[in-house]
């Protein structure tokens, strides 16, 4: 089942093409890595798919609930638990606390649940931001360079959690191809064209 369909996508900023994707389909249960050098439009593509960028040409259809995690995610004022609960409460999901604690435990940050987010390290902030997205079990998950600032333990835990999201379509933006992806798609061509 196709969850993401992109056709002839073109995003321009100040008369300059910043992202061009002729064709891209992502199926349910697939993990696709969009890779390429800086400025090739990886983030822009994810923002379009996440519904955060609306000025574009072409087709970008996403089927189902989608969550986008920024390359440098922000956490809301308050505790780690308040952040992880945020999306669950917004969706009116019950059993918020146990679900949140479960995801935090899988990312090895359950002990930080009551901590104010101002006192987290960069890696911890990254894990909390991932937990906040993963706890929603979205049908479409869009992660912008999610392994930045994560240590090897954080990377392997994140990989495991992504593997557990059965049925979800996951798109990761990364500067390099990722070995555990179902598919690696290069945006380098688009970058060269846009220049």
């Amino acid at each position: 089942m196709i969850m993401i369909r992109v056709r002839d996508l073109e995003v321009k900023r100040a008369q300059r093409v910043v992202c061009r994707v002729p064709e891209l389909d992502v199926h349910s249960g697939e993990l696709v890595t969009i890779h390429g050098p800086n400025g090739c439009g990886k983030t822009t593509l994810l923002r379009v798919l996440g519904g955060l960028e609306t000025a574009f040409r072409g087709v970008a259809c996403v089927d189902g609930e989608r969550v986008f995690v920024h390359q440098d995610p922000v956490l809301f004022r308050g505790t780690v638990m308040a952040n992880v609960r945020y999306g669950l409460v917004a969706h009116g999901i019950s059993n918020v606390r146990s679900r949140s604690l479960d995801v935090l435990a899988k990312l090895d940050v359950a002990h930080l649940a009551a901590r104010d987010v101002r006192y987290l390290s960069a890696g911890e902030r990254r894990r909390v931001a991932l937990a906040r997205a993963l706890v929603l079990r979205p049908r479409v998950l869009l992660l912008d360079e999610p392994f930045d600032e994560l240590d090897s333990d954080g990377r392997s835990r994140t990989r495991k959690m992504l593997a557990d999201l059965s049925g979800a379509a996951i798109v990761i933006a990364s500067p390099h191809p990722l070995s555990f992806s179902s598919r690696n798609v290069s945006l380098a061509g688009a970058a060269q064209q846009s220049r």
Binding site: G51, L52, E65, V67, H70, V74, F76, G87, A90
Partner: protein
Amino acid sequence: MPRSALRSNLRRSVPPHEAGRDLNLMAHGLYEAGRLIASGDALVFAAAGRSLAISVAAVLLAGVVAIPLGVLLADKAFPGRTLLVLTLRGGMGMPTVLVGLLGFALFSRRGPLGGFDLLYSPEAIAICETFLAFPIVVSWTHAAVSGLDPRYAETSRTLGATAPRRWWTLAKEVRLSLVLALLTAFARCFSELGIAMMVGGNIKHRTRTLATATALETSRGEFVRGMAMSLILLVIAVLVALAAAALTRAREKESA
């Protein structure tokens, strides 16, 4: 005219025994003001209490509508938004006598709200001061939320928050700026004279505020009482400025 003649004219215009009289009056006024405050003069403190109550009510009334509107203006684009924001910014410097005049026209017997019999009441002053505080709070809120990292709104949106929930989140992120906006609006309302005079009428035991009392006492030649009123105004204004400075420091510390 030769310079020596000018000097001699100047010397004649201020007799030696009157030189420094104004300064003495001021010092005396300050002393008496301190004494009045220390003795808890009923009229002075009644006016101060009334000024506080009216200003707080006006700022809270304005805040209830102005904060959500400021967040909305920062988060949602619509035709005419820039014009509305600019108009509200312009409204920050609205002359108090103009608001007082409009309030008078509204609340007077023949005005559209004349039936409520609000003219020359503290409620009328509070309502008019609300319009004075409103553009200040909206503009500050709009500026604070506009200056917030756009990722906050985007994250809230992508996590499925509804628009009101997203606005609540954004408001919480800039809460210190919002308190600062309310304090600024309070300072403006607390020290204003035009509205209190025009729709309040400066009625003793009813609508007399610190600002109108100061004007009245000074015009009656009761310099000392006027000075006492101004001192209380000044002390409260300084306290508000200190609170604002402390909040600004806290905000800078948080964003560091």
